[in-house]
Symmetry: C2
Subunit: 190 residues, 2 copies
C-alpha cells in the first residue's frame, strides 16, 4: 500500500534495536481516516474468503482490526493480556512475548467468543518476531477455529518471521514490508 509506505517515510522514526515508532498515526495518535483506508484495503484482500471474525491482541492491533472489520461487516475479538496466572474460568490461554517490551504475557480469549465455527482473519499492527501471530493462531487452534490468514499493517521483513510463516502455509498480507532500516533510511520490499 503505497500510501502507507509514504506515511512511514514521512512520519516514522527509527530507534536503536530495530524499533520503528509510528505513534503519530498507528498506535498512540490514531489517524482514523487513514486507518479506515487501511481497513478497506484489508477487506479487499480478504473479500471472498468467508471470514466471519477478526482476531487481534490488545492494544495497538485494535484500531486497524476495527477498521477492517467495519468494511468486512464482521465482529472483532481481541485477546487480552495478563501477567497474572489467575485468569478466570472459561478462556483459551497462550503465552506471548512482546517484541518491544521483552516481557512474557498470557494472552486469553473467552471460549464463548472464539469457536469451531469461526473462520478467522488475524489482524495486527506489526509483524516483527511473529510471536503475537503464532500466539493468536494457537488460540484459534485451541478453539478449533479456522485461520483464513493474517493482515498486518507493517511487517519487518528483515526479521523473516513472515517469510517463515508463509513457508509453513499461512497466508499473510502485509500492507508495508520493510526490507531494511539503516539509521533513518527505510527500504521497502516491492
Amino acid at each position: 500500500m503505497k500510501a502507507l509506505q509514504d506515511k512511514i517515510l514521512k512520519e516514522g522514526k527509527v530507534y536503536p534495536g530495530n524499533i520503528l515508532k509510528v505513534g503519530s498515526f498507528l498506535n498512540h495518535r490514531i489517524d482514523v481516516s487513514f486507518l479506515m483506508e487501511m481497513g478497506k484495503t484489508i477487506a479487499l484482500l480478504y473479500g471472498e474468503t468467508g471470514v466471519n471474525k477478526i482476531l487481534t491482541i490488545e492494544t495497538s492491533g485494535i484500531p486497524i482490526a476495527f477498521a477492517a472489520a467495519f468494511y468486512m461487516n464482521v465482529p472483532v475479538v481481541f485477546a487480552k493480556k495478563s501477567k497474572t496466572k489467575n485468569i478466570a474460568g472459561e478462556t483459551y490461554v497462550e503465552p506471548v512475548e512482546s517484541f518491544t517490551h521483552g516481557e512474557v504475557y498470557d494472552a486469553f480469549v473467552s471460549k464463548e467468543f472464539l469457536t469451531a465455527d469461526d473462520r478467522v482473519l488475524i489482524v495486527d499492527d506489526f509483524l516483527a518476531n511473529g510471536k503475537a501471530l503464532v500466539c493468536l493462531s494457537k488460540l484459534c487452534e485451541d478453539a478449533g477455529a479456522t485461520v483464513v490468514g493474517a493482515a498486518i499493517a507493517i511487517e519487518k521483513g528483515f526479521q523473516h518471521s513472515g517469510d517463515r510463516l508463509r513457508m509453513e502455509g499461512m497466508r499473510i498480507e502485509s500492507l508495508a514490508i520493510i526490507e531494511s532500516m539503516d539509521g533513518n533510511t527505510i527500504t521497502f520490499r516491492e
Copy 2:
C-alpha cells in the same frame, strides 16, 4: 440511547461487586456496526463544539473512541498505561486506579500528541468511580488543552461520580446510565 439499553438488558451479565460484563459487544468481542451507531450518536451530541481530538485510555475505550472519531472526522489519542516508572522522556503522566482490577497505573501521553491548541472530547466505555475520566482531564490540563466534555458508553449512575463531575461543571454525555443493578435486574436512569 434506547438500543444500547436494550443491548445491555439482552447481553449484559451482572457479577458480584457491581461488575457489569458486556464483553459480548463492547470490550472483548466488539460489535463493530453497533459501536459505529454509538459513535454516530456521540458525534451528533458533540457536533457543534469544535472538538479537534478524541482522548481515551487503553484498552477498552479505543473501539468506541475510534467510532466517534470517524464520524467527527478527528484523530484519536489513547493514553497508555504503565506500571513501570521509567517512562521515556517527553510525556505527560498521571496516576489512575482501575475500578475493575483495583491496581494503580501511570497513564501517559506523548507531549507531541496533546497540546494547548487541542479541544478535546474524552471518550470511554465505562464511567464507574470516575478515576479514568479525572486522569484524562488532568492529562489535558497538563497539556493546556481544553476539555470540551466527555462521552461515555455506560455510566454506573449509582456510583454518582458522573453526577459529581457534572456538578463541578464538566459536560458528560452517557449513552446509557444505570441507576441500579440488583442481581440481574438492571434499571436505567431516564
